[in-house]
C-alpha cells in the first residue's frame, strides 16, 4: 500500500480527522509542464485530496498565497512580478520546493541570458516577418523583465529541489508522500532524471 493510501486509511479510522495540509503552487517563468507532471499522478489525485487542500494554485481561484505548510514553485525568475510572488511564497510557506529545471537553474528560458534584453525585445517586436506595426510593449501594467532569468535559490532560501524537465509523476508522488508522512524525502536515484 502506498504511504498516502496508508495515511488515508488511518485517517478514516482515527477521529477526529487530521486537519488537511495546505499547499500552494505557482508557475513563474516556466511552461506549466511541472504542473502537468504533477497532474500525471492521475487518479491518485483523489486520494491526495483527502490529505491536502490547495491555496493559491492554477487549479483554484485563490489569487494571493496565504499561510501554507508547503509551497511548490516551477519556473525561474524573469521579471519583477516573479520576484514579488516568489518572496510572498517564501514568507507564507513553511517548506518551499523548487520543482523542475527552470526553478533550479533557469532552464530553457535562461537561454536568453547571453543576449542583451534590448536586442531581444527589439528583434521580437520590431523585425519579425509579417509585422505591420511594431514597437516594444512598455505599458506600466506589464511587469519589468529582468536582464537575466534567475533560479529561485538566488533570491530566497529553498528547502527542496526536484530536478527534471519535468520531474516524472512518480518522483513528485514519492516526494509528497514522504513529506506528508513526515519522512525526509528520498527518491530512488533511478527515477531521477534531468531531461
Amino acid at each position: 500500500m502506498n504511504p498516502i493510501a496508508a495515511d488515508l486509511k488511518s485517517a478514516d479510522m482515527d477521529t477526529p480527522r487530521k486537519p488537511k495540509v495546505r499547499i500552494a503552487t505557482t508557475s513563474l517563468a516556466g511552461c506549466f509542464g511541472c504542473h502537468m507532471s504533477f497532474l500525471d499522478i492521475d487518479e491518485r489525485l483523489v486520494a491526495l485530496l483527502e490529505l491536502v487542500e490547495f491555496d493559491r494554485s492554477p487549479l483554484t481561484d485563490i489569487k494571493v498565497c496565504g499561510p501554507c505548510e508547503i509551497g511548490i514553485i516551477e519556473g525561474g525568475v524573469c521579471n519583477a512580478e516573479n520576484v514579488h510572488v516568489l518572496r510572498t511564497f517564501r514568507e507564507q510557506c513553511t517548506t518551499l520546493v523548487a520543482i523542475g529545471a527552470c526553478a533550479i537553474n533557469g532552464g530553457l528560458p535562461a537561454q536568453r541570458n547571453h543576449l542583451p534584453l534590448a536586442t531581444l525585445l527589439q528583434e521580437v517586436y520590431t523585425t519579425r516577418p509579417g509585422l505591420a506595426h511594431g514597437g516594444i510593449p512598455n505599458d506600466p501594467e506589464l511587469p519589468l523583465p529582468l536582464h537575466k532569468v534567475h533560479p529561485l535559490h538566488e533570491v530566497v532560501k529553498v528547502d527542496y529541489f526536484i530536478p527534471g524537465c519535468p520531474p516524472s509523476a512518480e518522483v513528485i508522488w514519492t516526494f509528497l508522500s514522504d513529506l506528508l508522512a513526515g519522512r525526509a524525502p528520498a527518491s530512488d536515484r533511478r527515477t531521477i532524471h534531468f531531461d
Binding site: 511552461c31 497532474l39 487518479e43 489569487k63 512580478e81 531581444l120 517586436y125 506589464l142
Partner: protein, 487 residues
C-alpha cells in the same frame, strides 16, 4: 462609456480593478478594468504579461535541437510545438513526403495530445463554472469541488486525460516534453504490447467522450439563452482543413470564413501564411495581435480553435463525432454560432473525434514499424502549421549551411485569439459589470468567458497595483544580481 472600451479617453480619474492573475487558465495573464465613480466602465484590457524571447534565442542553435527546445514553450501542449517544428524542419531536410509509418505515428501522438488537452481543460479547469455557477463560492469552484460533488465526472475526466497522456508517452517517450518526432520522421514505433495496452481502454474512452459531449449539450440546453449570448460577438474564423475539406488537425490547407459563414479564402497552402496574416503590437501586451492582411487590422481579426474548426470543415471523418457535428450545425442554424460558451460543446466533439481517430490508428499496422525517417535535398527554410488543441499553430524557421537556425517566427494558437478574447471580455463587462458594484462573482464572469477560449498564456505572474519603476534583485547575502528601471 466609450464604444469599444479598448482605451479610455481620460484614464486619470478612473479607478483600476484588476483580475490578477487569471486562474484556471493555462499560463498567466491579467485583466484590468477602469471604472468611474458611478461604476461605469471605460476601459477593459486582457494583458499577457510574459516575455520570453524564444524566437530570438533559438537563433544560432542547431536545427535538430529545435523540436525538443520549442516544446518547452508550453507544458500543456508540448506535442503541438514538437510536431509543428518537426513539420517545418521536414522541409529543411528535404523530407517532402514522410513514410506512412512516420505519418501515422505522428498523428497518433497528436490526437493523444488533443484528447488529453481537451479533457484537462474541460474537467480540471472550466467545468466548475458550468456545474456550480459563475458566481458560486470560490472555495468550491475548482476540481476539488467537482471531485466532491460529481465524483464520477471528475474520475472520468482524470482517466480521459490519463489515456491521452499514455498515448503521448508511448509515441513520444514521455508524457511531457518527449522526443519521438525528428526532422524527417519519427525515431520510435509502437510495440504490439504498447498498442494492446491502449486498445484495452479505447472503447471506454470513446464512450466517455460521447458522454462528455452529452454533458455539455445538457448544460447548454438547460440555459440556452445564457449559453447562446454570454460574451457573444460576431467574428471571422480561420483553421486548417484537410485537402478534402474535412476536419484534419495534423495537416491541410488554410480556410477562412466571414461572420456569416461565407468562405473568405480556401485551399491556401500553409507556407503562404505571410501572404494572408499580418501582426501588430499594442504597447499594453506582450502578445501580438494578428489579422487577415487583406482586411486590415480593424476588420481582419478572427477566431481559431474548436469553435472555428467544427464550423469550418465540411465534415468530420469519424462517424460518432460527425453525428455530433451535424447536431451542432443544426442547432446553430443558417448562421454560424459565435457564442464563446459553445467552445465547450465544440471542444468535446473534437475530443470524441480524437478518441475515434486514435482507435483507427491503433488498428493500423503501420504504427508498429517500417521505415521511420526520410531525407532529401536540403533547403534553407521551412514552415510547419498544425491545429493545436487551441487553434492554428505556425512555426517558421530559416537554417544556414552550417545547420544553425538563422530565423524563427512563431504564431501560437492563443495569439490568433488575442483580439477576440479582448472583445469577449469587453462584451461581458458591458453586459454584466457596467454600472454595478463589482464583486468577486461578477469578476469571475470575465474569467469564465476567457476560459471558454482555453487560452495558453504561459508563465508570468501576479502583482497588485503598478509595479515599481525600478526593480533590484539581490541574493540572500545582499549582493545585487539584477536590476531594471522603466525608461
Amino acid at each position: 462609456m466609450s464604444q469599444n472600451l479598448e482605451t479610455a479617453a481620460n484614464p486619470g480619474p478612473l479607478r483600476r480593478i484588476a483580475i490578477d492573475p487569471l486562474s484556471r487558465v493555462e499560463g498567466h495573464g491579467k485583466v484590468t478594468i477602469l471604472v468611474d465613480e458611478a461604476n461605469r466602465i471605460h476601459q477593459v484590457r486582457l494583458h499577457i504579461v510574459e516575455f520570453r524571447g524564444f524566437e530570438r534565442f533559438i537563433v544560432g542553435r542547431p536545427y535538430w535541437e529545435v523540436p525538443v527546445m520549442v516544446q518547452r514553450l508550453c507544458g500543456i501542449c508540448p506535442v503541438s510545438h514538437h510536431l509543428a517544428a518537426s513539420k517545418a524542419l521536414d522541409v529543411v531536410v528535404g523530407a517532402r513526403r514522410l513514410t506512412r509509418s512516420a505519418q501515422m505515428l505522428r498523428r497518433l501522438m497528436h490526437y493523444g495530445q488533443i484528447l488529453q488537452s481537451h479533457a484537462l481543460h474541460f474537467f480540471y479547469l472550466a467545468s466548475p463554472d458550468l456545474l456550480f455557477g459563475f458566481d458560486s463560492e470560490v472555495s468550491r469552484r475548482n476540481i476539488v469541488g467537482v471531485a466532491t460533488a460529481h465524483s464520477d465526472t471528475a474520475r472520468r475526466g482524470i482517466l480521459l486525460r490519463k489515456f491521452g497522456q499514455e498515448v503521448i508517452r508511448i509515441t513520444a517517450g514521455k508524457r511531457v516534453h518527449g522526443t519521438g518526432s525528428i526532422p524527417g520522421g519519427v525515431n520510435k514505433a509502437v510495440t504490439a504490447a504498447e498498442r494492446d495496452l491502449l486498445l484495452q481502454n479505447i472503447y471506454e474512452i470513446i464512450a466517455w467522450s460521447r458522454d462528455a459531449v452529452a454533458l455539455v449539450k445538457r448544460l447548454h440546453n438547460q440555459h440556452p439563452a445564457l449559453y447562446n449570448s454570454f460574451g457573444a460577438f460576431r467574428s471571422k474564423i480561420l483553421s486548417l482543413v484537410g485537402r478534402d475539406g474535412n476536419m484534419d488537425l495534423y495537416d491541410g490547407v488554410l480556410r477562412a470564413r466571414d461572420e456569416n459563414g461565407a468562405i473568405l479564402f480556401d485551399g491556401v497552402e500553409p507556407d503562404q501564411y505571410l501572404d494572408i496574416i499580418e501582426e501588430q503590437v499594442k504597447p499594453w501586451s506582450y502578445m501580438k495581435f494578428p489579422y487577415l492582411r487583406a482586411l486590415g487590422a480593424d476588420k481582419g481579426w478572427y477566431r481559431v480553435g474548436p469553435l472555428s474548426r467544427v464550423q469550418n470543415c465540411d465534415s468530420i471523418p469519424t462517424p460518432l463525432a460527425e453525428i455530433e457535428r451535424r447536431e451542432f450545425m443544426d442547432y446553430s442554424g443558417a448562421m454560424p454560432l459565435h457564442a464563446p460558451l459553445a467552445y465547450h460543446w465544440a471542444r468535446m466533439i473534437e475530443m470524441l473525434h480524437a478518441a475515434e481517430t486514435i482507435k483507427d490508428l491503433l488498428h493500423d499496422p503501420a504504427i508498429l514499424g517500417g521505415d521511420l525517417v526520410v531525407q532529401g535535398a536540403r533547403t534553407s527554410s521551412g514552415i510547419g502549421v498544425i491545429e493545436a488543441p487551441r487553434g492554428t499553430l505556425i512555426h517558421h524557421y530559416g537554417v544556414d549551411e552550417n545547420d544553425l537556425v538563422t530565423m524563427c517566427n512563431l504564431i501560437v494558437s492563443t495569439t490568433h485569439n488575442n483580439q477576440v478574447m479582448n472583445e469577449a471580455v469587453r462584451e461581458v463587462a458591458r453586459r454584466y459589470l457596467d454600472g454595478r458594484e463589482i464583486n468577486e462573482g461578477l469578476l469571475n464572469h470575465i474569467e469564465v468567458v476567457i476560459r471558454a477560449f482555453d487560452p495558453c498564456l504561459s508563465c508570468a505572474t501576479h502583482a497588485l497595483g503598478k509595479m515599481p519603476l525600478v526593480v533590484e534583485l539581490r541574493t540572500l547575502e545582499g549582493d545585487l544580481i539584477d536590476s531594471r528601471a522603466r525608461d
